[in-house]
Every structure is written in C-alpha cells, then in structure tokens.
C-alpha cells in the first residue's frame, strides 16, 4: 500500500504537469508587438511614414510570416549565428528604416508555407506582414476585412522605380491587387519565364553519342538510351526516366517537373482558361486535345520513360533523383539549373544542359503565359504602420538593387547570394516583365570586354562577378562553384537559348476567381489530378478522360465556366 503522502505527492505532480502544459500553450500568443503611440504631428514620424527611404525615429517592430532559410551554409563564416531575425537583410532594414522583424511563423517555401498561412487566417491571428500565395486568399482576406488598405502607402512610399516596374506589366499586375479602387497588397511580379525547358545530362548524351533533341521522338530516344544503356552506371534497370511532379503534372505556368511542353504539342493547355472557337472562355483541362496528350503520356509511362514511382515521390525525392545521378532528365524552367546545382557537389563531372524541346515540326515551341501576378504582400488591418511593407519593398527591390553604393554593405549581400541564401522577411520579388532577357546581351558584352559599367543594378553586378568567376574556373580547368554554375547556366546559357527559340505564346484570358470556385474548385481539382495520375500510370485507359469531362461538368464545372464568361463580359 502506498502511503497517503506518496499519493498526495503524485496527485500534486500530475496537477503541476498539466498546469505547466497549459502554460506552454499560452506563452506563444503573447508576442504581439506593442507599438508606441505615434504622434502624427511629429515631423520626423510624418516624414518616415510618407517617403520611401526615410528611417523611423524609433524602431518599429513588426511580425512576419517568413519562409524558412537554411543558414547552415554560413557556418564558419563571419555571418555565423545569423538567423531569421538577424541577418544581412534584417540588419539592412534596421539600419536604413529602423524596422525590426519578429517571426510569427516560419515554414518551408511551397505547400508548407501555404498551410501555415491558412492556419493563421483560420485562427484569426495573421502576422503584421506576410506573403499570401494566390489571389483567392487575397480576396478572402479583403472580404473578411483582415488586411489594410495600402493605397496611400503605395502612393507615398513606393519609389518611382517600383511604380515603373509595375507599369512594365501594363497594369496587369497591380490591378489584381486592387479592390473597390483600393490597393490592398503589393503583388509579386512573375517575370516572363519563357517556355518550359528540358534539362538533360549532356555528359550521358556524349557518352552515348546522342545529339541535341528537337522532336518528341528525339526526346524519347534519349531518355530510352539513358535507361537502357545506363551511362550513369546505376546498374541495370536502376536509372529512372523523366522526373515528374505528382501533384502538378501540368498546368502551372513556370512549374517545376511539369509536362506542359508535351501537352502543348497536342494543343492542350491544362488548367488554363483559354479562348474556345467561339471566343468564349473554356477550361483547358476538359478540351478534346487533352486526350491524345494523355494517351501519349500513358505510353511514355508504360515504356518506363517516365519515373515509374513518380506518384509517390516528394519534392525532396525528385531533387535527390536528379542530383544523385539516378535520373538524367526533367522538364523545368530556365532556372532549372538551380534545382540541380547540388549535382556538382555530388558528381563534379555531371553536365546538365537545357534544351527547348520537344518542338513541333516547324521547330517552334508553344507555351501558355502565366499569371503575371503570383503572390501578394499584405499587411494586417490594424497594424499601425502599413507603409512599412511598401517602404521595405522599395528598399529591397529598388534602393538595395540600384542605389546602394556602400561597398561593405554590398559585399555582405554578395556573400549571401554567393551562398544562395535569402534571409529577407519579404519572400517575394518585384522586377521588370522582361527581366529575364533584358540584360543577356549586356552581360555577354561585359563578359567579353570585362567592362561591367553598363550593368545597372547591384545584383546584376554581383551576378556578373559570379558569371566571370564561373567562366574563369572553366577556362582554368578548375571545379566550378555550383552556385556560379547555376547562375550562369540559367541566366546566360538558357536565357540565350530561349531568346533565340521560336516561341508561340498562348495567353490565358482569366486568372481570377468566381463565387462558385471557392466551394467547388477544390473538388474538381482533385478529380482532375486523379484523372491525370490514373491515366498516365495505366490504371485507367485514356477513355477515362471522357467520363472525367462529364463528371467535371456535372459537379460544378459548367457553373464555373458560366461564371467565368460572365466575369469576362462584365469587364
């Protein structure tokens, strides 16, 4: 028998434990910033709040939903110990504007981040500043009256160049953030990314004596030889075909591991609202052109030219397949070299080369253009200094890029970017529509002559130095730095390739949302995804596409199509 003392002690312990557990849950939510009362008549405050670059007289704290950055690459450097609230960007914001971030939540880019954002919205506790990933969310936030009106902040605190950049999209970007004539967010601009690009292991192709692919047959032949002749030495049957995304097989402009180019060969534009024969909007995924494209993909999968396990791969798996030399082919964008930059560390002899392929018979490639506005920087309604977000954007995307002259500061940013580390609390980009092609010629001249004076922005100059370093290392037969290689390969080699290709652009006519979409689109999207996966993996024949189309229409697709057309005519 236990003594009464012992028993009471254990009860006390349990009570204490549960109390401490409850305590833990509360401590996190008390971090909201207490802003000091601001005297608007104070000229220093007033100036800070109405100009792009003026610093606040006192530190303004803000909480932010941040995308996680890995700082491990900085170990052993002068920046050791940097973190998401103290890094080269946050220190820059602190020094220039006197603002300091606190992290409300942090998540990996992509689905993880989107999930955190929706949790924050569901919980009703959104951070002072955060980036939301689509217009639907922005609209929801606006309708729920959760975000601040940034119209005045934009007028006063966006620098001239920021306004000029937004203008380079002919209003297609900023308009998407405008509700009832109020600017509710700063949109991330999606610079034109060109068509999808096929990346192949050139060293494998050379080993097998294969030439540059043009048509679909060439592509098939190359991948087939990769599998059969195993130039990577993975062992018989161990080399994997085309790496494909399992959640987005196609349909995202500029998406990674997507098969948009193959669909486009057949005139299919999945997930896009395109003009049909009669000039009305039609949903690309339910058009008859889809079926032969799907049949082709099923055939490729059956021949093992598509990764047999793509349906179960995570994004880490996909990257690992490519960087570890298990697969020698994937479809991506011009920046695909960044995806496989790690290959150079694991296998220095690997050579990834980009091709604009498969091309149609006349040598052209068809692409659909993306939504020029992708994500949105929003400010919580009730946050005392909504203009902070605009000031920060001006500082990051204009001042730091074009006007900062302090060599020590620039060196720090260069060190960061040469390690491919972000760190800015603003996980977005604001750049000219043609930023991708804009400077290729200038770069090439500069690399030839060694005179970089024509390059305007600091990041261009940084890039120039990095490209130079890459070219020098190649010339001297040294091992190139993966980051320098990735930068050069995407922004010079691939940019040139794309610039000189015959590209047909298809412009989707609708990117917005309609009332029924909110309730019905997720179900339809799920149905669509299952259809792709089942047909491609051969679980169903391509004929299953027909029944998908009819249930898509029945389950709300027709309603949505009608609403999209109404929205277009009412414009």
């Amino acid at each position: 028998m236990k003594s009464t003392v012992k028993k009471s002690a254990s009860i006390l312990l349990i009570a204490l434990l549960s109390a401490s557990l409850a305590g833990c849950q509360n401590s996190n939510s008390n971090n909201t910033t207490k802003d000091s009362a601001v005297n608007l008549n104070d000229p220093a405050w007033k100036k800070a709040m109405t100009t792009p670059y003026e610093a606040y007289p006192e530190t303004v704290n803000y909480t932010v939903g941040a995308t996680a950055t890995s700082y491990t690459a900085l170990e052993g450097t002068a920046y050791e110990g940097d973190n998401s609230t103290n890094n080269v960007w946050t220190r820059y914001f602190k020094n220039k504007l006197n603002v300091q971030n606190e992290v409300a939540f942090e998540a990996n880019d992509g689905a993880d981040y989107v999930q955190k954002v929706s949790m924050a919205i569901a919980g009703g506790t959104i951070p002072d500043i955060m980036v939301v990933s689509d217009q639907t969310t922005l609209q929801q936030l606006y309708e729920n009256d959760l975000i601040a009106d940034l119209t005045d902040a934009y007028t006063n605190c966006a620098s001239d160049r920021i306004k000029e950049i937004y203008d380079s999209y002919d209003g297609r970007v900023l308009e998407t953030a405008r509700f009832d004539d109020k600017i509710m967010a700063l949109p991330t601009t999606e610079i034109s990314h060109g068509p999808g690009v096929l990346w192949l292991r050139k060293d494998w192709m050379d080993k097998l004596g294969l030439s540059e692919p043009k048509t679909m047959d060439d592509v098939e032949n190359i991948i087939n030889q990769f599998l059969e002749k195993d130039p990577g030495g993975n062992g018989a049957g161990k080399t994997v075909g085309l790496v494909v995304d399992n959640e987005n097989v196609a349909g995202i402009s500029g998406g990674q591991y997507e098969l948009n180019n193959i669909f486009a060969l057949y005139g299919a534009f999945p997930k896009q609202w395109i003009k049909d024969g009669s000039g009305k909007a039609a949903y690309g995924s339910v058009q008859p052109e889809m079926k032969p494209a799907l049949a082709k993909l099923a055939d490729l999968y059956n021949k093992k030219l598509i990764d047999q396990q793509f349906a179960v791969r995570t994004s880490d798996d996909r990257k690992a397949l490519l960087t570890s030399g298990k697969s020698g082919s994937f479809m991506d964008n011009w920046w695909g070299s960044w995806t496989v930059a790690d290959t150079l560390k694991l296998n220095p002899d690997a050579k990834w080369v980009s091709y604009v392929a498969p091309q149609s018979e006349d040598g052209s490639v068809t692409m659909f253009t993306g939504n020029p506005a992708s994500s949105y920087l929003v400010v919580r309604k009730g946050f005392e200094h909504p203009e902070v977000a605009v000031k920060m954007a001006s500082l990051q995307f204009d001042y730091q890029r074009y006007l900062e002259k302090d060599a020590t500061v620039l060196k720090e940013f260069e060190d960061y970017s040469s390690n491919n580390i972000g760190g800015s609390p603003l996980a977005m980009n604001i750049d000219y529509y043609d930023a991708f092609y804009r400077n290729v010629g200038i770069y090439e001249d500069a690399l030839k002559t060694g005179d970089s004076s024509k390059l305007l922005s600091n990041s261009d100059k940084n890039s120039y130095r990095s490209y130079k370093k890459y070219l020098d290392s190649v010339k001297n037969g040294e091992k190139p730095d993966p980051t320098a290689w990735a930068g050069y390969t995407s922004s010079i080699t691939t940019a040139n390739l794309v610039k000189n290709s015959k590209v047909n652009e298809i412009n989707p006519i609708f990117f917005g949302t309609t009332p029924s979409m909110a309730l019905k689109l997720p179900t339809l999207t799920k149905m669509e995804l299952e259809m792709y996966l089942k047909i491609i993996t051969g679980e169903q024949t391509p004929d299953a596409f027909d029944s998908f189309v009819s249930s898509w229409k029945k389950t709300g697709g027709d309603t949505i199509t009608k609403e999209v057309n109404e929205a277009l005519t009412s414009k």
């Binding site: 929706s118 009256d145 161990k238 179960v312 299952e530 993996t537």
Partner: protein, 296 residues
C-alpha cells in the same frame, strides 16, 4: 474495499483529464454551427452568414463523400478484424512459451513499434516497399515483376491494414495476456488429468476463458470504425491512391485547412460525428447484451 479518503484522491486524479476533455472535446462542439454557415474567420461564428443546408447539399452532390465514407469504414473494419485476430494469436502463442526470459524479450520487441510515430514509420514503410526496396528485390529474385505497393489502389489498403497491425499488435495483445493469467490453473490441471494435450487445452480451456475479453474489446472497438488512422494515412498516401485511401479525417484536413473550406469541412466532420454516435450507442447495447458490460 477502499475507504472514503482514497476515493477523493482518485477523483482528484481524474480532474485533469476532465478539464482536458472539456477544453478539447466539449467546447469545440459549438463549432458545429459553422457547418450551417458560410464561415468567415474574421467575422467569427456570430458574424458569418447562415446558409442553411447548402454545405450538406453540396456534400451529398460530390462523389467524394460516398467514397471517403466507404474508405473510412472499410479500412477501419479491416484494421479491427485483423488487429484483434493477430493480437489474440500472438497472446496465445506467447502464453505457450515457458522460458520466462524469451517471453519477456519477445513481448518487448513486438511492443516497440507502438512507440514510434507514423511520421517516422512512414519513411521506413515507403522505403521497404519502394521499387528498389527489399520486398521488390525479393519478388524479383522469385521472378515476379516489381509491384509499386504504395501507388497501387489494389495494394494500398492491405498495406495500410498490415502496417497498422504490425505497429499495434504487440500493444493490443497486452490485455489478452493479462486475462490469460486470470484463467484458473486448476482447469489446466484437470484437463491434463483428463488427457488433453497442449492444443486441446488451448482450444477447450484458454479460448473460452478469453472469450469475454475478446467480445468486450471488439465491441468497444466498434465506435473506432470511423477512426481509420489519420496519422498513418496522411503520412503514407499520395494523390494516386486517394480513391482507396482518402478517409474522412484526411479529407476534412485537406478541404478544411488546406483549401480553407471551413464550413464544408465542418459539414463533413459532422457527418462523421453522426455516424459515430450511432455506432457508440449500438456498441453499448451490444456490449451489454454479450458481456453484460455497459458504458452508460
């Protein structure tokens, strides 16, 4: 019998879990009204517009509802059946081992996976059953074509059941082992005098002795029919096998949290609760009938 003072202590020990229950199970119940609204977080429950049964209408209109309900039941029922069976057989076999050390050792080993989370185990399972994994290597060695277990609608459910049983049967067998010790040793002596061998003893003494426990545990498991295991499925599934693996919980997670369809998510969750309460009531009745045990 305990004296009065002891009882108070036990009641006090119950208090934290009661508080827990109230906070996490009773208070959230009010959230059900979201299912009848077009819920908007900023406006809260009091400010959001009432839409009547719209969410339910849409729920019954989409093919997903039927599918997830079927998936949930099928997966859970198989888990209960196979899980109970394996646990009982294991307990019986273990009971036959006479070497104390070997018995304890075995028990500990099968008990271990129970302490690992699915987030960890999923990776292990995925690797074992991948194309390059040991299982397919073995199949290849036997001349059988490799099977992609985790991406096949044919295999995914059996995989779910088997891996779940593998994780839980050690833990599940404890209760049977305990009730085995309660069987009167005199019965074994008597039966062996009557000439029964080990198998006959098992059949005529052990199993009947276990029967009340088996019935009770199985009946109490019935309400779990709607609890097919979110952790496991969420960590193992992929879009290709939604058709056979998407259960109510994973669906509500995706619809409610990922797609931010709070009201639709709640409506589907409510469907689960309604079916759940029917099951609990019938389980209670059944338990009362079969084993004379009632929860309320």
């Amino acid at each position: 019998m305990k004296n009065k003072k002891d009882q108070t202590a036990f009641h006090l020990m119950l208090a934290p879990s009661m508080v827990f229950l109230i906070i996490f199970s009773f208070i959230p119940m009010f959230g059900i009204v979201m299912a009848f609204q077009n819920y908007i977080p900023a406006k809260g429950i009091s400010g959001s517009a009432w839409v009547g049964l719209d969410n339910f209408k849409f729920m019954f209109q989409i093919p997903d509802s039927r599918q997830i309900l079927i998936n949930t039941m099928v997966i859970a029922i198989w888990k209960i059946i196979v899980g109970t069976f394996v646990s009982i057989v294991f307990a019986l076999l273990l009971n036959e081992i006479r070497v104390r050390f070997a018995k304890k050792f075995m028990q500990t080993v099968v008990y271990l996976p129970n302490f690992l989370s699915w987030a960890v185990l999923a990776t292990v399972v995925m690797n074992i059953f991948s194309y390059e994994g040991p299982v397919n290597a073995l199949l290849g060695w036997l001349g059988i074509d490799p099977v992609l277990f985790m991406a096949s609608n044919h295999w995914f459910r059996p995989m779910l059941v088997l891996t779940d049983v593998w994780k839980g049967f050690g833990y599940g067998s404890i209760i049977y082992l305990a009730s085995l010790t309660a069987i009167d040793p005199g019965l074994y002596e008597a039966s062996s005098i009557d000439g029964a061998n080990r198998f006959k003893q098992l059949w005529y003494v052990t199993l009947p002795g276990l029967m009340p426990t088996i019935l009770l545990v199985t009946t109490l498991n019935l309400p779990n029919v709607l609890n097919a295991g979110f952790d496991q499925i969420f960590n193992l599934y992929n879009p290709l096998v939604y058709a056979t693996s998407d259960i109510i919980d994973t669906y509500v997670y995706r619809v409610g949290l990922v797609e931010r369809q709070y009201s639709l998510g709640t409506a589907i969750g409510l469907l689960r609760s309604v079916v759940g309460i029917v099951l609990i009531l019938s389980a209670n009745k059944l338990a009362q009938k079969l084993t004379d045990y009632r929860i309320f």
